[in-house]
Symmetry: C2
Subunit: 415 residues, 2 copies
């Protein structure tokens, strides 16, 4: 029995049956383009403009200082944190939205290391998103007390967790390959040896069901501008399991984390629960806008999202192999959809130029050094027919050697 023929009509039929299809209309999408970079910067929810206008004209412009009370700006980190919690398997009071992923990682690393003072090793995956490693390197140097980072390949993680390990700090989904680490098993292994875990959810929050509490996770951080569509550089989240909140202490003492911020007491007394993860005054406008993206994600069924995401990836891989077999692409992502986040990465020795040529054709993916083309599938607004059109464009770029054009060879920075 032959396989179903893959043609555009088939992809269109999938779009017709897609339960998530209505969400697409809630986003502003550039006409004539296929946007496959939502894993780097999510698209703009149309409601973002409404929120901005309220925050700007009504709150800042008219109510001014009173908005800290009347619009409750002061509790935006907690309110948005409670919404984020529902998307990552956490409870209300376990998450705040604040600062950047880097700063939040510093906070929970400090807290975790202090809870395991007698241990000296931090396990990280080699070659994952560098800022996580950088922050850890900075802290190790600052503390200067014999801590060291054990970088291991993904298949060596379980074996690397031994009784010297204080903290296992990992990305749930690899930023380059999309490979998913098993949060459940790794957390269990860490706990069995007495270590704590920090999970970076940048590439999983909003893209798939994540269940921190079911895994008995300890700490987590993540960004909100990718699959949560919070806007460029929107503030990050930080999770501390309730059972640790009494003892876990972060050192960036700021007045927003104080037990009584408006008493202006001379000595720091940390706030109850997750609020002690706050530090200084937060960027209200960027926080407020993020709510548009969170509210959309909360209305979507994360299982539907995951199913569509896996299918988009599977179809993309199949089509690339069918249409571009002779063009020396290598699949850098796991073939098995269950092991793969919401992206497919393929490499090519002319990867940079190929991506530039694709972008010139209106297909927006991104490039990661040295040779990886990333295609992010964001099930809230990516259509099945986009996959067909993307591979058609890729085929043209390759068949017609479009990537050889001079202007596609010059590198400028890419995020």
């Amino acid at each position: 029995m032959p396989d179903r023929v893959l043609d555009r009509a088939f992809f269109e039929s999938l779009d017709e049956d897609d339960p998530l299809a209505p969400f697409r209309a809630e986003f502003l999408l550039p006409p004539g383009k296929i946007y496959l970079d939502g894993n780097s910067l999510g698209a703009m929810p149309k409601r973002a403009q409404e929120i901005v206008n309220i925050t700007l004209l009504q709150e800042w412009g008219s109510e001014l200082i009173e908005s800290w009370n009347s619009a409750d700006w002061f509790h935006l980190p907690q309110r948005l944190g409670d919404k984020t919690a529902k998307l990552i398997g956490a409870d209300a009071g376990e998450v705040v939205v604040t600062d950047s992923v880097s700063i939040n990682l510093f906070k929970v690393l400090c807290a975790a290391i202090k809870m395991r003072q007698e241990r000296s090793v931090i396990v990280m995956e080699a070659g994952n998103f560098p800022t996580d490693a950088y922050i850890t390197q900075g802290l190790v140097k600052l503390l200067d007390r014999g801590l060291h980072i054990r970088y291991v390949e993904k298949d060596e993680i379980m074996d690397a967790i031994d009784p010297d390990v204080a903290v296992v700090s990992l990305s749930n989904v690899h930023y380059k390959t999309g490979h998913i680490l098993n949060m459940q098993d790794i957390t269990a292994k860490a706990h069995a040896t007495g270590a704590l875990t920090i999970w970076d959810l940048c590439h999983s929050a909003g893209a798939m069901p994540v269940d921190l509490n079911a895994c008995s996770a300890d700490f987590a951080v993540g960004c909100t501008y990718k699959y949560l569509n919070g806007g460029p550089g929107s503030p990050a989240f930080v999770y501390v399991a309730r059972r640790h909140q009494e003892i876990a202490e972060q050192p960036l003492y700021g007045w927003w984390g104080h037990a009584d911020p408006f008493a202006f007491e001379p000595e720091y007394r940390r706030g109850e629960g997750i609020s002690q993860m706050l530090s200084g005054t937060q960027a209200v406008l960027s926080l407020a806008v993020l709510e548009a993206g969170l509210d959309i994600a909360l209305r979507a069924d994360l299982n539907d999202l995951r199913e569509k995401s896996m299918r988009l990836g599977d179809l993309f891989i199949k089509l690339v192999e069918q249409c571009c077999a002779q063009h020396d692409f290598i699949l850098e992502s796991p073939r098995l959809s269950g092991d793969r986040g919401s992206q497919v990465s393929i490499s090519h020795k002319q990867g940079y130029a190929v991506m530039q040529a694709l972008i010139a054709r209106g297909v927006i993916g991104d490039f990661r050094a040295p040779d990886i083309l990333r295609f992010g599938f964001t099930p809230l607004y990516t259509q099945y027919s986009d996959i067909w059109d993307t591979v058609e464009a890729l085929k043209s770029v390759m068949d017609k050697d479009e990537w050889q054009q001079d202007s596609f060879q010059t590198r400028h920075f890419v995020t």
Copy 2:
């Protein structure tokens, strides 16, 4: 010879002659209110809306990921930093706008302490804005190597700077009283004993000329949402004198501070110059909007601002003493305008209720525990006649015992 009679006509005549008067039209101000809380949250520049629309609809909404390049989001911290530099006597390349005051203070504290490793004391002013003390307390505890904070009253600062002192960390203008510390003399004394200085410019940047480089300052931080009108919680700035940039190192290593952020190298290599003060991805929307306020401040003459600010304060004090003599207010700010920032604070044992009654009359100042009423004068949009009307309102509140109304007694938090 008697003093000039203070009547409304006199204040109106000052408005007519005010060279800064045209700036008022550039701000959105609530009709029927007198806003004297710009020292807490500056008013909204009308251009903020235009910037938001561009950032939202054109950049995020349409150009999406490409805006990191095309709109140069990536260098907003440096570009806005260079603009801020001009307002605080720094050079281009000495300032970036990023993170919060608290986080930036942590960075420069770490850098400064490391540069004076053999010393153990940090001098701070007792009773100044608590977050500065909290951040320092958190770092002292984290480093756990015998550092301690020497809290002193303002008149004891000079004597407290001895050869044990590593860092003198002070607010240029006191958040409660508006008292100005002499940056020139204190910095000179610190340097004479081998200490470094950190200046918190939250209540001076944009309100008066500040000349960091003329004082040979070492480090500074400050917020942008007060006199710089950047919007609620807009990102803060951090200054490192160029002569220290080679050696000063902050520990919050993030990819934005890396020498080559898009190389995704496994090891942190700090960026050149001020860029190493960056850490994680920044809230673009809040950063972008801030430019409206900075651009206005750059067009104003800081000497004109300062002159008007001092005069507004002098007139306010004179009027309160003339109209409310019997009401037991105490002047908490320096009487001498040269020693006073752009605010006047008066205390009253019923301070909280008095401020609530004033707010009910449309005069927006704020309250600081335990008994201080703060009136901030923001020369870009505060009118001389506002001072007259404010004191008239205060007189009514007091003469008619309006503050005794029950609803004014109940405390809710205030920023």
